[in-house]
């Protein structure tokens, strides 16, 4: 898994600073938005669901109240104690006394029609005899009493009866509410009933829950009493389950929120069917709004991210490019600085660094050139015509004296001397070879000057023999010792060359027991060597200054020469090579 992510990350160059910035900004920007959107959506959807449930419950409760108020009023009318006119009508009708019953009939018609006027939605009010004769607000007629009684079912009080919806005598869709009436003056009881228009139930349930949402009324058995689709009236409801518990139900592939209440007055359930689609339409709106807002914010974040990452990474990319070019030896690069932020400071530092490198490069070139010049001068100094001619004259004298062995040695020593001086043009040579070079020189000079002096070469640390040092370091010093120390003295001369290593420094001490140097002169020489004193005559102390300058160029200021002398006793030149400063 990690490898897979890594592959994808590599695929989209996640390692680039710009990509990292984009991803970081996106995560920082997007996560809060998504979190906020998710939370607010959940909170809002919960609130809407609660509101719909409360609204549905409130609606069905209100319908229940309205329905019970209406039915109670009808029941109050039907619950007559004793009515003189009805009693008289019943008695006279049972006796077929039409002459006297007609005025009571008229009165009953009048009363019943007044009741209809006062109770909108009442289609008919009637008194029905046990034989099916009926007087109602529409006159007198006969009904099938057995069928009518069969259709009645009692409410919880067992005193009021209801029918299922049906088409009444006048082709009207009604529900009948009935109660028994027991006249005092007649043996036979009658039924007083009221036909309630189904439109009353429609009006009671005429609350707008939505286009698909609706209300229905069902009896205790779940048989539908009112439904907006009239064909459903009388059918057993699918959702009846020992009542109508509140829940989510499915109808024709759609979800509905069922909310119900039970009316004890009527024994009916008032049921709200709120379409989940319509309820969630508002949620969908919020969902879409959240999505659109998230997309807009996402686009804004992406644009902002691109801008920010670009503005941040572009100078860095430029810096990277220029650094790369600089690393490829293009030191002409320069960053155009704009602004004063950290990246601008970095650019300034980069430019400063490039300038410094350029200066150092130029300095190095100058120093190398100077070093070459010093080397050449050192070589020139060695190939003095006088030295060569005398040496060659000595060799000729030896050949004339047929001292071939010594002549051979001289030629050999001279050849080695020059060969080691040139060292195939190399700048650095092994100390071993430098020592050999000095030995050759001393051999030649000893022969030339009649062995007036001895020399000792003492290398304390043999390991330094394999170290490299600039060539022609020792010979000029030894030459000075011979010509300025030993030859002017009237005693047997001795030159000691010591080589040692101490604390990463290689020291060579060239000591002679010659005439020495006056202290003020020693001081002058050392000042010149330290650069504290300038001289106009470039030939003055040429050998010392040449070696000293070369060492300082190659090994830094700590390296160089130091002269110590006791007049008429000895002179010691110390060569210090600080290896830590070597190039």
């Amino acid at each position: 898994m990690f490898n897979f992510i890594k592959k994808i990350a590599n695929g989209i160059e996640i390692h680039t600073l710009r990509t990292k910035l984009i991803i970081s900004f996106l995560i920082i920007g997007l996560l809060p938005i998504l979190l906020f959107g998710f939370l607010s959506f959940n909170v809002y959807s919960g609130a809407i669901n609660d509101r719909i449930n409360n609204y549905s419950q409130e609606m069905v409760n209100r319908m229940k109240r309205d329905l019970e108020d209406y039915i109670t009023e009808v029941e109050r009318f039907l619950s007559k104690e004793q009515d003189f006119y009805i009693n008289q009508f019943i008695k006279l009708t049972q006796a077929n006394d039409f002459r006297n019953s007609r005025k009571y009939a008229f009165r009953i018609w009048e009363d019943f029609n007044n009741v209809k006027q006062l109770r909108p939605g009442l289609k008919d009010v009637a008194i029905t005899f046990q034989d099916g004769r009926r007087i109602s607000s529409y006159g007198t007629y006969n009904i099938d009493i057995d069928n009518f009684k069969e259709s009645l079912y009692a409410d919880e009080s067992d005193e009021t009866f209801f029918t299922q919806p049906y088409i009444n005598y006048f082709q009207e869709e009604v529900v009948t509410v009935a109660r028994y009436y027991y006249p005092e003056i007649a043996e036979e009881n009658v039924l007083i009933s009221a036909d309630i228009d189904l439109d009353v139930l429609a009006d009671l349930t005429d609350f707008n829950l939505g286009e698909k949402s609706y209300f229905l009324i069902a009896d205790q058995n779940g048989d539908i009493i009112y439904h907006p689709e009239k064909s459903k009236i009388g059918e057993r409801s699918f959702y009846y389950s020992d009542g109508f518990p509140d829940r989510k139900v499915s109808l024709k592939g759609e979800q509905y929120l069922l909310t119900s209440t039970y009316s004890e007055v009527t024994g009916w359930y008032i049921i709200s069917m709120a379409s989940a689609d319509e309820v969630e339409a508002e949620l969908n709106y919020i969902t879409n709004l959240t999505i659109y807002m998230t997309i807009i914010v996402l686009i804004l974040i992406i644009l902002l991210t691109l801008y920010l990452s670009s503005s941040l990474s572009k100078p860095i990319q430029k810096l990277q490019e220029l650094t790369h070019r600089a690393s490829e030896n293009d030191l002409s690069v320069k960053i155009e600085i704009s602004g004063d932020d950290e990246i601008a400071e970095l650019g300034q530092s980069f430019n400063k660094m490039i300038r410094r490198i350029n200066k150092l490069m130029e300095q190095n070139v100058r120093e190398q050139k100077f070093l070459r010049q010093l080397e050449m001068e050192s070589l020139d100094n060695q190939i003095k015509p006088h030295f060569i001619y005398n040496t060659l004259d000595l060799i000729i004298g030896l050949l004339e004296n047929k001292d071939f062995d010594r002549a051979t040695h001289m030629v050999e020593a001279l050849g080695k001397f020059f060969r080691l001086s040139l060292s195939h043009g190399k700048e650095m040579v092994l100390i071993r070879n430098e020592i050999k070079h000095v030995k050759n020189y001393l051999f030649i000079q000893q022969f030339r000057h009649g062995e007036e002096y001895e020399y000792i070469i003492d290398i304390e640390d043999p390991e330094i023999m394999d170290k490299h040092i600039p060539k022609l370091i020792l010979q000029p010093i030894v030459e000075n010792s011979i010509y300025h120390g030993l030859l002017p003295a009237d005693k047997k001369g001795l030159i000691i060359i010591k080589g040692l290593r101490k604390n990463k420094n290689i020291y060579f001490k060239i000591v002679d027991n010659g005439v020495g140097i006056a202290p003020e002169k020693v001081e002058e020489i050392n000042k010149i060597l330290k650069g504290e004193l300038k001289i106009d005559d470039q030939q003055k102390y040429f050998g010392l200054r040449n070696v000293n300058q070369r060492l300082k160029l190659m090994y830094g200021g700590n390296s160089g020469l130091k002269v110590e002398s006791v007049e008429n006793e000895k002179t010691m030149v110390t060569i210090r090579i600080d290896q830590r400063g070597g190039k």
Partner: protein, 345 residues
């Protein structure tokens, strides 16, 4: 062995079973749909429905009473159905429900308008025998009409008026002194009422009686009282009022103060329809001459005639006339004893 006879026998049994099952299913489906669609407990009885113009008009109570008596005698399920106040739409709806329930016959009091003709014809086409009583629809296919000779009633009323004027020494021939008259009728289009008005106008044509206004009360008793009171208050100088029907006579004299004042100041009122309340008003001097209809005969004879037509195919004459009753000062006391008050005290 394959038995062709037994196979055929089995097929017949299955067919019989299927037919019986279908018949049972049809009946059971009907019973569930309409609780009261079956007419009576005794469905063998003939059912004939009377449809008066309204229940609130007590003039029909005589017909109601006597039709019930006759129904008992003939063993008929009698229905008496109507809207409380006259409403042609509701009346047609009631007739429509009777057609739906397939009653055997109906006797109705209607307006002479095409929509009534259509519903009557539809009932006839459905096999329901239809007759009219009181008000007729002669352009329909109804079998017969039973009622008074409305032209005669109007004529007799006009003649009675002239007699009253004579008794009051009011000259109805003086061309220089017009007797301004208001006619109160029910609704235009009621043929019986139109005939009465025409007869009245024909009879007084050669007099100085002139018709000032014709007021329609929409067959509504309460509206009739209200219109009458308003009219005489606005037109106290009106000389004569002819009531084509007895709509405003159902209230006591105290309920007609303007009309009473007008009568006491010499106004002459005549009208058609005799019943107890109208006679009381006549007795108190508010009305001077009444011509009555024999509504009882309309109820009883109308029912028996239609019964005979349905049961025995006895074709009645198109018009069956019932007699007129006249109420004047000479027979008023006797009539007050005969006619019963319709209102429950």
């Amino acid at each position: 062995m394959f038995n062709l006879y037994s196979c055929k026998n089995n097929a017949n049994k299955i067919l019989l079973f299927v037919v019986l099952f279908m018949i049972i299913m049809c009946f059971s489906a009907d019973a569930g749909a309409e609780i009261s669609s079956k007419n009576t407990a005794d469905s063998d009885k003939m059912t004939i429905a009377f449809v008066p113009r309204s229940l609130e008009n007590p003039i029909f109570l005589d017909a109601f009473e006597h039709s019930q008596k006759k129904a008992v005698d003939l063993g008929i399920n009698l229905e008496w159905l109507g809207s409380f106040s006259f409403d042609s739409e509701k009346q047609i709806k009631i007739i429509d429900s009777l057609i739906e329930r397939k009653v055997d016959g109906m006797i109705i009091s209607v307006n002479d308008t095409p929509k009534y003709d259509r519903i009557i014809n539809r009932a006839m086409e459905a096999g329901i025998a239809v007759a009219t009583f009181d008000a007729d629809a002669p352009n329909s296919n109804r079998i017969f009409n039973i009622g008074i000779d409305n032209y005669e009633a109007g004529k007799v009323t006009a003649e009675g008026l002239l007699k009253v004027l004579d008794q009051k020494n009011i000259d109805y021939n003086d061309p220089d002194q017009e007797l301004r008259t208001m006619i109160m009728t029910g609704v235009k289009g009621a043929l019986n009422l139109e005939k009465r008005i025409n007869a009245f106008l024909d009879t007084v044509a050669d007099t100085n009686i002139v018709i000032e206004d014709i007021v329609e009360n929409q067959d509504n008793v309460n509206l009739a009282v209200e219109l009458l009171e308003q009219y005489v208050q606005k037109n106290p100088d009106i000389d004569i009022i002819f009531f084509v029907g007895g709509w405003p006579f159902y209230v006591p004299a105290e309920a007609l103060p303007n009309f009473r004042n007008w009568a006491q100041n010499g106004g002459v009122a005549v009208g058609i329809d005799i019943f107890y309340d109208a006679l009381v008003l006549q007795d108190r001097g508010l009305i001077h001459y009444l011509v009555g209809q024999d509504m009882a005969t309309m109820g009883s004879k109308g029912l028996s005639t239609l019964y005979n037509y349905i049961k025995y195919g006895v074709k009645p004459p198109e018009y069956i006339k019932t007699g007129l009753e006249i109420s004047n000062q000479e027979n008023l006391d006797r009539l007050l004893r005969i006619h019963q008050p319709w209102r429950v005290k």
